[in-house]
Structure formats: structure tokens, C-alpha cells
Symmetry: C2
Subunit: 183 residues, 2 copies
């Protein structure tokens, strides 16, 4: 039950249409909660039906017409409730680690190239985050809001740093590993 709350947060930061939300989910918010436009439209419908958001009065007939939403007090209250509620951490699910474990059984042929590809992708993402940090959080001015958002970005940076280091280490091991074909 996180998508509706991700949308409420985004709409509180700035009222938007479905497609604008989709674009924002490809950038900042999407860095730790992604969503496709289909999910977003479906969820916007639900949130409106529940009285958590409403369409800004311009009353277009619908299809093909831009429709912007804003958060209602009930929506803000629901978001505050959810944010403060205790939630158990969900177990990770990482296909790449699974493949590493599988390769210990069926052999490492072919996986090394993909490790390199992932390493390149994580390096790109890391560079992008660091660019954002430089641009949006220069030393000095920090409101409490800034500091919270910076913390979230730091999580992204540190996670990407971890992956680049781990993948580098893994590839070093592969260099020394005698080629294990299928057992």
C-alpha cells in the first residue's frame, strides 16, 4: 500500500496531471518508488473516489484532455497517518544475487558480461545522483525539509556506491576464478 501515498506526496509537493506525475515518477520519486502511467491513472481514480484528491476545476470531458489533481485534507491526513504508522521492513528480492548463487551450481558462463553491464549502469546512476546533490544541496542553506530530502538522496548515493564496489569486487574474483563449467 505505498503507491497511493507516493502519489499523495507528489501531489502535495505540486498538483499535477497523470502524465506529469508519470514523468516525476521517472525522476526524483521514481528513484525509490517507480510506477507506470497505467498504475498511476488507476490509482488516481481510486484516490478521487475515496475523497483523498480532487480534479482541479476545469471540467474537461476526459479523454485526451489534461486533468490536474490536488490533495484534499482527508488525503493529507491519510498520508500523515501512513507515514507515522509502524511498518515491518519487507524482505529483499534481488535476481542478480540469485543468479550468482545459481552460477555456483550451473557454472558462471555468460554472467560476467551482465555483471559488467550492471556495473556501468550503477556508475551512471551514481553520477546522476551526485550531480543532483551538487545542484540541489549546496553546503550552507538547509531547511529541515532540505535535510530530510538530502538524507533520502544520500541513501540513493550510498546504495549505488555499494553496488559499484560489490560488482567491482565480484568481477575481480571472476578474473581469478578458473572457469567453472556446468558441474
Amino acid at each position: 500500500m505505498s503507491l497511493p501515498h507516493a502519489i499523495l506526496t507528489a501531489l502535495l509537493e505540486k498538483p499535477s496531471s497523470g502524465l506529469e506525475l508519470t514523468r516525476r515518477f521517472d525522476r526524483s520519486i521514481g528513484y525509490f518508488w517507480s510506477a507506470t502511467h497505467q498504475q498511476i491513472y488507476r490509482e488516481l481514480g481510486k484516490l478521487e473516489a475515496e475523497g483523498h484528491i480532487r480534479a482541479l476545476p476545469s471540467e474537461q470531458p476526459a479523454r485526451g484532455q489534461k486533468k490536474s489533481y490536488e490533495v484534499l485534507p482527508a488525503g493529507r491526513a491519510e498520508l500523515a497517518r501512513w507515514t507515522a504508522a509502524s511498518q515491518d521492513p519487507k524482505p529483499h528480492r534481488d535476481p542478480l544475487l540469485l543468479r550468482m548463487r545459481a552460477s555456483a551450481v550451473v557454472g558462471t558462463d555468460g554472467i560476467e558480461a551482465d555483471l559488467r553491464r550492471h556495473l556501468a549502469l550503477h556508475r551512471e546512476q551514481l553520477a546522476e545522483y551526485e550531480e543532483i546533490e551538487k545542484r540541489d544541496f549546496p553546503p550552507g542553506r538547509d531547511t529541515p525539509q532540505d535535510r530530510l530530502r538530502h538524507l533520502v538522496l544520500r541513501a540513493g548515493i550510498d546504495l549505488e556506491t555499494f553496488w559499484t564496489q560489490w560488482l567491482t569486487h565480484a568481477l575481480e574474483e571472476f578474473g581469478e576464478l578458473p572457469d567453472t563449467g556446468p558441474a
Copy 2:
């Protein structure tokens, strides 16, 4: 499409019944791919229908009776294919980071306690991983398989280390943060 491959890996490491698999998914494999017994039974049925695994010949009538499976050559081939195939990294989805971002908008009331709880949980998990490392990967003896499995465990250790550090840092910030009520 990872669960069937997680099961194939587990069965190759050691033929097992559904419940035994469920227990192993609560331990080692579950550290990066969790699954409930319902998922596992559903998937075992599919894998058997596809000819990737078969029940070990003891031919019990079914309900309440233990039924063990082993991997067939077709299953091993499918696992090798999947392991070597290129896969895009899936975007993260982390509710806690989402809540941090939401708390920048609706206020931080209530979230601090949950951050402490998560910190304690990640510390526990980290200690457990380090225990496993000490027990299963003593310095010295390392077959290629050992080194691959150790790499996977290191990923778990480093990820938990990241989270404990990040949460500690976040809680320090909270100590200095003037209480931001709902804006």
C-alpha cells in the same frame, strides 16, 4: 520470473520436499529471495508440469504425505540459460525512504520510533550474517563455489551495514531537527 529459478537452484543443491524448501527459503535463500509455502507449492506444480523437476519415486497418494522433488536435465538447462541471460536491474521500491520523503511534507511526528525499530532489526540481521560468515567461510579453504557463495553473503553484510549506518545518521539528524509538525 525468478521464483522458479530460485527453486531449481535450491533443489540442485539438495532435493527436497515443499516444506523443506519453505524452511530453506526462511534461511539462506530467503536472505535475498523470500517465498511462502503457498507460492512454493504452486510453483512446484508448474515446474513438474513443464518437465523441469520430478517427484522422487515413492508415489504417496498426496495430501499430508511428504513428496520430494529432484531437478531433471531440462530444468538444469533452463536454470543455466536464465543465469546467463542478460537482465535489466529492476528499480528499487523502498517504503521507508518514501515515508522519509513524505515526512518532509506532512511532518516527522511518529516516524522516529519506527526508524529506531528498523535500526535494531538491521543490526540483528547484520549480526546473523556475520555469524554465518564466521561459521561457513573461515579463512583458508575456498573452492570456486565457496567464493561465489561468500560474495553473495558479503552483499548481504554490506547492505545491512549500509542500512545501520544510514539509519544511525538519520536519527542523529532527527536529534537536531526542530519538530516539524504538519505544514
